[in-house]
Symmetry: D2
C-alpha cells in the first residue's frame, strides 16, 4: 500500500505529470504548533532546478494545507498537504509511451498492472518524494519538541568518498553548498565530478549518511519492527536506493566481537557506551547514542544518451535521451533521507507511548 507507519502514518498519492502529489498524515498528536515555513523550507531543499547539477524542471513546489491544522496547531485529525504539479510537460514523454526505459519501472509496472501512466514514470517518479518531504517536515516539528536532531549529508559521489567520521564534521554546514557535503573541499570536488558527468551526458551514484541525535532511549520494537529494520525499509523505499547499513555496517563483519562490543559505563545519570558500533540501536531499540547509517544510491537511470531497448510489443527500439533529469541524485536526496528518518522516529515515538505502562498517571488524567 502507499502508506507508511503504524501509529504516526502517512499516505501519499500522485503521479509525476498528474494534477498533484501529496501526503495525508494520520495520527499526529493534537496541539502541536506547526510552522508552515519549515515545511516550505524542506520542500525547497528537495525541489528541482536548484543548481546546474540538478534537473532543470521548474516546480515551485508550493503546498496547500487542506485539513488537520486549525489556528496554527494540529487538531489530531488527518493533515493533508497537497502540492500541485505545474511544469508537467506530458508531451515530452509521448515518444516513450510504449517503450521500456532501461533500469526504470516501465517494464515492471506494465507487467504488473497491464496499464500504466507513462508520463515521466507516473507514480514511479521520484516526484512522489515531495509528499514525503512535506510530511517529514511535520514529523520533524513533532520530534523537535523533544530535542531530537536529524541530519543527513552527502558522504560519497561516485568514487569520491568522505572518510571523515561524522563526529568530526560540522553537520550544520551541509546546506552551504549545492552538493550538500559538510566538508567544503570535498564538496567542491564532488560538484566538479557531477558537473563533468553531466557534460558527458551520463549520471553517477552516491551515498547519503544519516545522523539522528538525542533520540530517546526505547524507540523500536522487538523481532520484526526493529528500529534499524524500519529505518532500512524507509531508506530502501526511496527511489534509486540499493543498500543500507547502520553503525559498523558491512565493515563490522571483519571485526572480532571483542573489538566490536560497545562497553557500557555510567555518565552521571545516564548509562552510555564508550564506542558506538551499535549505531545507537541495540536489540532493535534505541539506546540513546547517536543513530548513524549510510544509504547507497545508484546512478540515475535516465541518460542523455540513446540506449537500445524493447517496446511493449517486444520489438527492438531506441530510447533517446530527452527530458530533464539529475546527473546525480544525492544532493536532492538529503532532505528525503531526513524526512524518512523523521517519519520512522515519529512513528516509533508514538508506538512507544502506547506500550508504556504508566497506567496510574494516565488514568488520573483521563478520569478528570
Amino acid at each position: 500500500m502507499n502508506t507508511y507507519g503504524h501509529t504516526f502514518r502517512i499516505s501519499t498519492y500522485g503521479e509525476s505529470h498528474g494534477p498533484a502529489v501529496g501526503a495525508v498524515i494520520d495520527g499526529c498528536p493534537a496541539g502541536l504548533p506547526i510552522d508552515l515555513s519549515l515545511i516550505q523550507y524542506e520542500l525547497d531543499r528537495r525541489k528541482p532546478g536548484q543548481s546546474r547539477i540538478t534537473t532543470q524542471r521548474r516546480e515551485p513546489d508550493e503546498f496547500e494545507v487542506l485539513s488537520g491544522i486549525f489556528e496554527g496547531k494540529t487538531t489530531g485529525m488527518p493533515i493533508h498537504l497537497m502540492i500541485r504539479n505545474t511544469d508537467a510537460r506530458s508531451k515530452d514523454y509521448s515518444h516513450i509511451a510504449d517503450k521500456f526505459r532501461p533500469s526504470h519501472a516501465d517494464f515492471t509496472y506494465q507487467q504488473k498492472w497491464g496499464f500504466r501512466d507513462y508520463r515521466g514514470g507516473g507514480r514511479s517518479s521520484a516526484r512522489e518524494t515531495a509528499a514525503r518531504v512535506a510530511a517529514g517536515a511535520v514529523a520533524k516539528q513533532l520530534l523537535a519538541t523533544m530535542g531530537v536532531e536529524i541530519y543527513a549529508y552527502v558522504s560519497q559521489v561516485g568514487p569520491l568518498r568522505l572518510e571523515t567520521p561524522y563526529q568530526e564534521l560540522d553537520l550544520r554546514q551541509t546546506d552551504t553548498n549545492a552538493v550538500r557535503c559538510p566538508d567544503a573541499a570535498m564538496a567542491e570536488k564532488m560538484y566538479d565530478f557531477i558537473d563533468e558527468t553531466r557534460k558527458k551526458q551520463d549520471t553517477v551514484g552516491g551515498v547519503v549518511s544519516g545522523v539522528l541525535r538525542n533520540v530517546p532511549v526505547g524507540l523500536g520494537e522487538p523481532v520484526f519492527d526493529k528500529l534499524h529494520a524500519e529505518l532500512g525499509k524507509a531508506m530502501l523505499s526511496i527511489n534509486a536506493v540499493k543498500g543500507f547499513e547502520y553503525g559498523s555496517g558491512f565493515q563490522g563483519v571483519e571485526m572480532y566481537g571483542s573489538q566490536h562490543n560497545d562497553i557500557f559505563y555510567r555518565d552521571g545519570e545516564r548509562v552510555r557506551t564508550r564506542t558506538n558500533h551499535s549505531g545507537g540501536v541495540q536489540g532493535g531499540i534505541s539506546n540513546g547514542e547517536d543513530i548513524y547509517f549510510r544509504v547507497a544510491f545508484k546512478p540515475v537511470a535516465t541518460l542523455m544518451q540513446d540506449q537500445p531497448s524493447v517496446n511493449q510489443e517486444g520489438e527492438d527500439v531506441t530510447v533517446s535521451g530527452k527530458g530533464r533529469h539529475d546527473p546525480c541524485v544525492v544532493p536532492r536526496a538529503v532532505p528525503i533521507v531526513e524526512a524518512m528518518s523523521a517519519l520512522v522516529l515519529a512513528d516509533f515515538y508514538l508506538r512507544n507511548q502506547a506500550c508504556q505502562p504508566n497506567l496510574a498517571a494516565q488514568s488520573a488524567v483521563a478520569s478528570e
Copy 2:
C-alpha cells in the same frame, strides 16, 4: 508488533528460556499439501549443536502442528507451529540478571519496558528465529508450487570473502559443509578461521548472500512497500544484522549510469535484461531476473571473556564469559535468510493476486 506480512502473515512468540517458541501463519491459501519433514529439515539446519563451530546448546527443535493443517493439507486457517524449549538452563543466567551485557538488548529492554525476562536474553535471543524458520518452510512449499527457488549461502567470514559471482557457484553445494559456503576450498578456510576465533574465546562476523530464482514478474508494491525494501527490512530484523544491499549495492555507487543500466532485450516470449545490476527488482517490483542480495552480520556479542559493564543500579560490574554461544553466526543464519526471503515473497505473491483484476491473463505472462 511481533507480526510480519500483510496478506501472508506470521506472528511469533516465545522467549529463549520460556516453555516454547512458535509461529502462527495467517493467510496461507487452503489446499496446499504440506510435507512436515521439510519443516523439520529447515529447523535442523538452524538448530544449535550442529558442529564444533556452533553453540553447544542441545535443542531437538521438534515442532508440533496445533492448527491449520488437516489430512496433510492447509485449510486456510491459522497454522500454528510450536517448538518446545527443552535445554533451558535458566540458572546459567542468574549471574547476569541485573547486568547489562555489552552490545546485547539487556539495557534497551530494561529501559523500554522496565521489566524483562533476563534468561538468555528472553525474547531478544536468536532462539526466536526457530519460529521464523518453521514458518518459512511453509512459505517455501507455497512458492515451490510456482517453481520459485530460494538459496542463501555464506559469502564472507571476517576478512575471508568469496569473490566468485553467485552465477558461477553451484548453490546446491552449500549444505555440504558446516560453514554453508558453496565453494569447498573457501569453506575450509572459513571453518578454520571460525574455529581459531572460538579458541581465542572471541567471535567474528560474516555475510550471507541470497539468491531468489524464478520469481514471477510483478511482485512488490510501489512507493513504500517495494520488494527490495521489504526484503531489506526482513533481513535487518534478523538478530545481529547490520546491513543489506541488493543488486549492485554499495558498489553500484561508483558506476556511471551508462554502465549500470540493464539493457532490455527479447528472449523468445520473455523480455529480459542483458546485465542484472538491478538485482531482479525495478521500481520496487520483480522483473523476472534473479533477485540477489547480501546481508552483513556483526560478530556475536556474547564472548567467553570477561567484560566490564554496569548493572541496573548503575554500578560497575564484570560480565563474565559463560553460557553456550556461537563463535560466528552466519552458518546457522543461512536457513534464516532463506526463511525470511520466502516469507517476503509469499506475502507479495498473495498481495499481487489481490491487485490483479485479470489474474489468469497475468499469470500467463508471469509464468513464462
Copy 3:
C-alpha cells in the same frame, strides 16, 4: 485511524469548514474504466439542499481527480478524489466555540485532544461522508463488473415503519421521492412527518435498510473479520447510527432453531437456501443469497431550539438553535449506506482473491 479496509482501502480527510474533504483509495485494481459522472451522481444524492426536508447549506460537491486515473482507467495507484468546501460560513459557529452542544462530539473531542476545530463540528461533521460516497462510487463500479447490485432505502422514519419485506419492493423506485422510500404511499407520509418535525424545530430518527444482490459466494473471513461484522462496523461508523442487524436480526432471537434454520436445496448448478434468515451470510462468509440488513439512525442532535449546556470552563451556558441542519438524516444517509456497503464488499472481494490458490476454479462457481 481515518482509514477503512485491508486490501481495497480508503483514507479520508477534511473538516466541515476547512478547505476541502476527500478520499484516497488505495488498492483498486488497474485497468478499471471509471465513469466520473457516476461519482458525481452519488455525490448529488448525498449533497445538502436537495429538498425542503434537508439542510439548506449549499454545496455543489463537485470533485476533482488528483491521481490514479489515466485516460479514463484506474492505474492501480492511489485514486484521490477531492471535494472543495465552498459554503463554509465559519462565523455561524463562533458562538459555540467553547460550548458543548448536547449529543455532539464537542465535549469528547475537547477532552481527548485538548484542542479542536469547532467550526461545524470540524471532523465530526457528517460532511466527511461526502468523501466516503465518492470513494464508494468507485467501489460500486468495480463491483458492477461482477454484477453485484447495491441498494439502500429508508424503511422507517420516527414511528412510521414500512413493514413490506424488501423482496416485495421495487428498489429502483427509491430515488423517485425526496425521502428515498420505495413505497410511494409511505414515502408521502414520511415526508409529511419530517416536514412537521422540521416546523416544530425538532428532529427525528429513522432506519435505512440495505440489500446487496449477486454477491459472489465466499466473501468474508472467519473469526474476527466476518462479512457481517465488517458491514456492521462500517454502518456503525456513519454519523448518528445507533444499531445494526442483518438477516433475522433482533427478531430472530424469538425464533426456535427449527424455524430459523435455512434449509439447503439444489437449484440447477447452485446450492441455495429456501429461507434467508441468515441474511446471505453464514459463518461470516457470503453464501450467494441476498445480503440484507437494517441500520438505525438517531434523531439529529442539532436543534433549532435553545438548550442548556456547559462550556469548556464548566460554566452553565445556553446553546441556541442556529446553523443549517437536517430535520431527519435518513434520506441523505441512503447513498452513504450504499457507499459503505460497496467499500466493504470491494475489500472482501480483493481479500478473497488473495486467499484463493485456485482463483479460476473458484470464480466459475462464484459467478453462477
Copy 4:
C-alpha cells in the same frame, strides 16, 4: 485475518477438534501483574458442561502460558495462552463430512477454501471463543488497574425479555444462576424455557446486554474506528450474533431530538449528562458515562432433529441430530461478550496513550 486490534492485539488459532486452541496477545504493556486464576475463572464461565442447559461436551479448558509472562508479570512480549482440546470425538462428525448442515458454515467454508476441516465445524466452531475469553481475561486485568468494570448479562431468552433498566439491576448477581440473568425471578423462567426447548430437541435465541463502567473519557477514534463501531464489530464477530445496538439503539429511532439529546451539566470536577441515550459514546468517543449495549444471538443451528440438506455433490441428504450442543447459547456467551468488550477497550486505551501529546513529560522520562 484471525487478528483483532491495532495496538493491543490478539491473534487466535485452532479448530474444534484439532490439538488446541489459543490466543497470542501482542502489545500488552510490561510490568502488569497477572493473576492466572482469573484467567481460569473466565474460562470456567465459558466452558461446556456447566449445567443441564449447556452442551455436555467435557473440556477442562485448562490453559498453559507459553510466553510473555515472567515472575508473575507481563514482559511486553507476546503472551501466548494455549488450551488443549481433550474431549475431541472426531468420529461424531464423520457422518457429516460432506454434508452441509443448515445455517452452519459448512457450505460457505467449502466454497471459499475448497477444502475444510469438517470435524465439529473446524474453525467455525464457537470453541474458538475460548481463546478470546482467555485473552480477554488479561485485558480485564489491564483495565482493572484503571477501575474499569465490565459486565454482561442475559436480558432476553426467546420471548422472555427482562425490561428492567440495567441501572436498577445488581449486576454482581449475574453469575448466581445458570442462565446468567441478574434478576432471579426472570432467570428461573428463562431456565425453564431453555430446558423445555432442549427437551423438544430444539434451540432458541437470546440477548446479552453489556455495561462498561468507569471507562475513561477519550477512548475511540473519529470516523471509521469509532468506539461503538469497534464494539459492534467485536460483538458481531461472535458466533451466532445477528445484531448490535448501543444506547437508545433501534428504539431511539422513534424519539425526537429534543427528547433524545443528553443535556450536559457540571458535577463537581466532571462534566456529565443528565440522560444517557448516547450510551456513553459521543462522536465515537467515550464521554465517561456508562457504555451499554445489546447483542442479539440467533437460535443455535445444531438441532437434535433430522433436517433435509444437500451434500458437496449437490445430492439430497438428511442431516441427523447428533453431537453435543447448547439449546441456547446466551448463558455461555456472557463471558465472551465481556471478553470482547475488554479487548476493545484495552486496544483503545493504548491507542489513546499514543495520540496524547504529553510530549514534555514523556521526553523527560525517556531521556534519563
